[in-house]
Subunit: 226 residues, 2 copies
Amino acid sequence: MTNKPTRTVVSRRARPAKEPLSKELIVETALGLVKSEGSSGLSMRKIAKALDTGPSSLYVYVTNQQELSAYVLDAGLAEVTFSSSDSGTWQSRLLDVLDSYLMVLFDAPGIAELALTTIPVGHNSLGITEYMLQQLNEAGVGATSAAWGIDLLTLYVSSVAFEQTSRNQVGTTLQAVKASYQSLDAKRYPLLMGLREEMTSADGKERFRWGLEVILQGILQRKNEV
Amino acid sequence: MTNKPTRTVVSRRARPAKEPLSKELIVETALGLVKSEGSSGLSMRKIAKALDTGPSSLYVYVTNQQELSAYVLDAGLAEVTFSSSDSGTWQSRLLDVLDSYLMVLFDAPGIAELALTTIPVGHNSLGITEYMLQQLNEAGVGATSAAWGIDLLTLYVSSVAFEQTSRNQVGTTLQAVKASYQSLDAKRYPLLMGLREEMTSADGKERFRWGLEVILQGILQRKNEV
DNA sequence: ACCTGAACACCGTTCAAGT
DNA sequence: ACCTGAACACCGTTCAAGT
């Protein structure tokens, strides 16, 4: 009676043998969801479902959603590329990382929001920060100015990406904004009226570059003053 | 039998006579909740409860939460103060509004998040933008530079406020960040290591001013270039 | 040590039904 | 025209119980 009959346990193998959970697997799955669904993909329940388990299982590897968000952000930032430290000028290197940063935030729409709301503490974001500090260091920018400047630059990139991607997501909203600008009271807001185009335009690259250069010039001018 | 007996309808008057709902009342109530509870106070259900009704009642006056958020943001910005157009220089006036802006976002913690995630379209935010445009106009800054510059400046203020207030809210997180910076690998991140203090410091006013001036100088230098 | 089901206390939004 | 109850389809997190 104790011999094993041909009891096909097929049910458990509907999909490839289930890997055991791990922090890495959870983070990777979450990142995938964020890429495909945007920030709403970062839900404990959706991640659990994608891993074919219950939400409570995740709490063995991650203390809460906030912590998981920080990991996911850092995993996403792994794709930011650096040019090697001897190609071009410090300035071109700096602009290049920031460009790459923007691209990464751009095609994983949910990550931009994370970058803005989550304090980044993983190795990838630390690596990026260190690299940028090197460039400003080379430019002769003092310690405090460099530290605050980097914050300013990354903040700028994140928010540009966020504005852009969140508008794409909503769709209806942008129209609403345009409509409300359309019907502006010319007497109350004459200047705004004249700048309707400029305020609404999301002409991407050009505008992004402009902001970057504005900040950078500002930083260089106050190199050592705090 | 049709005479009214002394039937005390006391129950409906436990609180002062219930005002009928209105968009204004809803927005004002929501703003109150955001001020006292932070961004989590901006919940349809909480607002409804505060108004002693059900959540579905709100949808008569407001199409959805997103739209309500925009109204609440604008109502919050009503407290931003302007100095009159002939006191001091354009620069001092500009810095003053931005200062006031920061203060407002500061003591209504949830609003900073709204400012960052909600596209502002109400009369108050339009008024602030118009006022700032006036100042840059006076400074001789070209149209496009002015438009983009204002965006940059307000973005900066919002994100400084958000970073600050969200850290206060969480509390635990900041310690975690400090801890992770504490245990930084000196070989991997030598520069970051040396700047630990500067990166973590949230010394408010001074840092805020620095960023403002950096951006402003950058804008002035590219007055008319796009 | 790891995983799970079930529960708790929440969400936003819709819609048929009432006044 | 306005308001409501009840339902739908979600949330994050906890915890006793299982292996």
